[in-house]
């Protein structure tokens, strides 16, 4: 369906030209186009993280050289340029910072299904060196920095396997 907007309104003040150099081009037309794309999208070397979510297990990666533990996982330690190895974490941690979104971008079906406001939380998981971002479902609880959280697992099907988990109060 195209939502066609045609106009021949006077736009003299827009052109900003006293001598009206654009007089021949006053009319304009705006049409609606749609572009839908489907991607066969590889999760690459991050894949095991998402596969293990189906098994209700949470994995990070660890660098044997510098000891940093990456959650979200990085296959390559950017500090050492060494391949990392998978390491299971307990999935418990603490809330570092967050924002409650009152406007949803509706990025995918799982996001579109969220009631606003929903909370984007950054958690420092026990044993990790980085903060992991995810949705925090803590209806009715007042949030505070340092509060204990845990990874909670969801049943599929989901639009993106990251939605096989969320954060909940521990």
């Amino acid at each position: 369906m195209s939502d066609k907007v045609s106009s021949l309104i006077d736009i003299t003040e827009r052109a900003g030209c006293a001598d009206d150099a654009w007089g021949d081009f006053r009319g304009f037309e705006r049409i609606t186009l749609e572009l839908k794309q489907r991607y066969h999208y590889s999760l690459g070397r991050q894949s095991r993280f998402f596969i293990e979510l189906e098994n209700r297990r949470f994995f990070a990666t660890a660098c044997a050289s510098c000891g940093r533990v990456y959650a979200p996982p990085r296959p390559l330690c950017p500090a050492c340029l060494q391949p990392t190895t998978w390491r299971e974490l307990s999935g418990e941690g603490s809330l570092e910072t967050w924002s409650a979104l009152h406007f949803s971008p509706g990025t995918n079906a799982d996001v579109a299904a969220l009631q606003t406001p929903y909370v984007l939380a950054y958690a420092l998981l026990d044993g990790a060196s980085t903060l992991f971002p995810h949705l925090l479902r803590a209806e009715g609880e007042s949030l505070r920095q340092g509060m204990r959280l845990r990874v909670a697992y969801n049943e599929g099907p989901v639009s993106h396997p990251i939605h096989l988990m969320h954060f909940a109060p521990a």
Partner: protein
């Protein structure tokens, strides 16, 4: 013989929420004609190189737009290049043009930026498209938006330093008030701090009036060696020359969480500023810079920026900003143009618009109600994402 480049001429469109009457080519056309009038030139025959600046192929539903723009303004068969770096695109384009001239590759580069970010797509689609410039597997897929990433940073800043919502509401009100003195501004507003605090929440602690604008607009800047400008730009001799004396760039991780435990401020901006200051010979930026355009994508970002640019101590940004230090009558006026909050933010043109405001301030040619008297040196700060790429460009008038 390489030399510090000069801003030979500038041009832009009005910035608007939507220009239904113009596509990207038309906007660039208007900005270019404005530049030719500013330069007193009747064509681009002498200009050696084109440099296109736009962020999104998605917003335009057109790839290779840079080649189309170059063609539209008759620059073929001269060399061309497209630069892209998210929100920092326009500033990176200027930095790239700087390097082209400093290297001796050419003596003149026309940098042209354009974006149709306004209402070409719905605001939900715009948020989805901008979210694609975050990490799609870990941030975009869970419903994160840039507003929420910035908001989470600001919450951490508030928790660590006691920064308050009133502090960043001051920026939201002041920049929109400054915009009233800028004829190209998209949305000047006469609002109080209470109006900002009472506006509807978007991603707390940020509210609607803390957020910058989606815009349609275009801007051009002709960068050249001084000798080239003297020879080819008739108006160049009529104005004090403005040199592009410093440029710095820094980067940081894409995801905020990977910056733990440093999530209150922009490391990339600190690095960009130090590099630019060193190049421009600035030791005490608060005293040596007279006017600045800072990247106020959200009101609180200006508070973080004045800390990262080294103008105030870490954590002192909030109360210093709220005390009026960076108002038009303050010690270092910031965003006299209205910034991204009041003038508007057509992404690929934004960094160029910032440089234009700084240059015109140094020329002494803006509306006297926003003119910083006697300004000799100005700074433009621009970044992408949550400052995953940050650029600081410095301009200096040398009479």
């Amino acid at each position: 013989m390489p030399s510090v480049p000069v801003v030979a001429a500038v041009g832009c469109t009005e910035i608007a929420s939507e220009r239904r009457d113009c596509n990207a080519r038309d906007l660039l056309t208007d900005a270019l004609l404005d530049l030719l009038a500013d330069a007193g030139m009747d064509g681009l025959g002498a200009v050696e190189h084109g440099l296109a600046s736009y962020e999104s192929d998605h917003f335009n539903m057109q790839m290779t737009l840079g080649a189309i723009l170059h063609d539209t303004i008759g620059m073929t068969p001269k060399p061309s290049l497209r630069v892209e770096g998210g929100g920092a695109t326009g500033a990176l384009a200027l930095r790239t043009a700087w390097a082209h001239i400093q290297s001796g590759l050419c003596d003149s580069v026309l940098v042209y930026g354009v974006e149709k970010n306004g209402r070409g797509v719905s605001s939900q689609t715009a948020n989805q498209l901008f979210a694609l410039s975050a990490d799609v597997d870990w941030e975009t897929a869970i419903g994160g938006t840039y507003t929420s990433f910035y908001a989470a940073m600001m919450r951490a800043h508030m928790a660590q330093y006691g920064t308050r919502e009133e502090h960043f509401a001051h920026v939201a009100a002041r920049n929109r008030a400054n915009a009233a003195f800028n004829p190209i501004a998209q949305k000047p507003m006469d609002i109080s701090i209470d109006d900002v605090l009472r506006s509807r929440p978007v991603a707390d602690p940020y509210k609607l009036l803390d957020c910058s604008l989606l815009s349609d607009g275009a801007a051009c800047l002709l960068l050249a060696s001084e000798a080239w400008a003297r020879e080819h730009v008739p108006t160049f001799r009529t104005r004090p020359p403005v040199f592009f004396t410093g440029t710095g760039c820094g980067t940081d991780t894409m995801r905020l969480g990977d910056r733990h435990p440093h999530i209150t401020n922009f490391r990339a901006k600190q690095q960009a500023a130090q590099a630019a200051y060193a190049m421009a010979g600035i030791r005490d930026p608060l005293r040596e810079i007279d006017v600045a355009e800072l990247y106020d994508s959200y009101s609180g970002v200006e508070i973080q920026a004045v800390e990262d640019l080294g103008w105030v101590g870490r954590g002192e940004g909030g109360k210093t900003v709220a005390a009026g230090a960076f108002d038009l009558d303050g010690i270092l006026p910031v965003n006299p143009s209205g910034g991204l909050l009041g003038r508007g933010a057509p992404v690929g043109a934004t960094g160029i618009l910032q440089a234009i405001e700084v240059t015109q301030q140094l020329w002494g040619l803006v509306d006297e109600r926003r003119q910083v008297p006697g300004a000799k040196r100005g700074l433009a700060d621009t970044h992408a994402g949550i400052a995953s790429i940050s650029v600081v460009n410095i301009f200096e008038r040398r009479d």
